[in-house]
Subunit: 266 residues, 2 copies
Amino acid sequence: MRVILFDLDGVLYQGEQLLPGAVDVLAWVRAQGIPHLFLTNTSSRPRSAIVAKLAAMGITITADEVLTPAAAAAAWAARAGVEPLALFVAAATREEFTGLARLADDAETGAAAVVVGDLGAGWDFATLNRAFRLLMDGEPQLVALGMTRYWRAEDGLRLDTGPMVSALSYASGREPLVLGKPAPAFFEAALAKLGVAAEQAVMIGDDIIGDVQGAQRAGLRGVLVRTGKFQPADLERGVVPDGILDSIAELPDWWERTGGEAGGSA
Amino acid sequence: MRVILFDLDGVLYQGEQLLPGAVDVLAWVRAQGIPHLFLTNTSSRPRSAIVAKLAAMGITITADEVLTPAAAAAAWAARAGVEPLALFVAAATREEFTGLARLADDAETGAAAVVVGDLGAGWDFATLNRAFRLLMDGEPQLVALGMTRYWRAEDGLRLDTGPMVSALSYASGREPLVLGKPAPAFFEAALAKLGVAAEQAVMIGDDIIGDVQGAQRAGLRGVLVRTGKFQPADLERGVVPDGILDSIAELPDWWERTGGEAGGSA
């Protein structure tokens, strides 16, 4: 192994609190010169907000070290010349799509792609139905900014992007292009950015499906941490992680035990 | 064959208008003493409203002759002793669940079953999320009052029950018990109510998938009428109906030709 892909929420921090070992592990990664990226399915915030959030907790990273579904979607649309886009993404995420042609936010026809992210409580019936009507007009691509099932808010579990994409896909009969864990295309985008093959990479996350199974299906190793959304029953879901850590603090030991290489020796 | 299952909309009537033969065929069924049920996927109205609608068009039936997904769900819950129920159904449909223990409409825990119907614009984020949280507490059964994708409202297409069930199933990982055509469980509920085996029953409908294929997959015969939503392209979808009628008016001839028995001889 030569590179590490980190999930953020539930691995480095939870809520506004760093998790044990987060600062030390990032210092270790940098000291060892191990190439890395932070892969997050967050579709409610731009990379700049993620960088700012980590900075406020005492961790310095750059936007270029972060890969989000929105950043990957914008790159796809620009590369494929797909326009106009109908954006169903959080207001703050719209900055990732700067420079791309978009439909007005009340349009019900004319989209070349319908981009679905985490609108949270913004998903009222009229909004979901507008996305559906757009999908039934012509043959726009349904683009999913991840297929995350839910996240743990302070007041309890909350539906994330995946269920809304599932609803729209079922209703319209269209298969989504998924940019986000656990879709292979998202891991492949990360590998390409780091210039390595799948077998040279490990993904560390708290989601047995999104992080661990997703990485494994794309040919990477997948390591689970017992923090964040982890629940013991996750280990009975038919996925065998390549490693299980009580927290990210155990990563350096695991890396050395399992033959990870420092960047300098690659 | 000994019993007949009728679809309603598009078979006996369309909009507010009776279709040709509807009155005569129902008179024939009764004169012959052929046991029958009316099977409809409507999840926004109780059986009493369906009975009233038919009465207004000049056809008299009783609620007990009608099987809706809600009625089938209530029968299932009563039979299996499943309670309390969390109901996500149209206000008018709630009467089908009279006598069964229900959760309060703001409860987020404690459901033995989460029953999902067509709430229309009532599906705001908080409501969908509450259904999800209930599904994540314990192991309640997700019950779908049909899996209809959408319907055509006056102002355009509208999401129906299916997409919401799809969202909740995806988010919670729970498979729905689907009570509504074309799910086998719904046809089986009808057979149980009439006390016959699948091969003794024929389903008459205008939906090549929901009515004809659904019935055939449950072991019944499926007959298609060329009224309602029927389109010639329906015959190119890989389903071969056991009979094709220009309208319900041709049913008595078909029944006699194919060896249907009168109730009196059974």
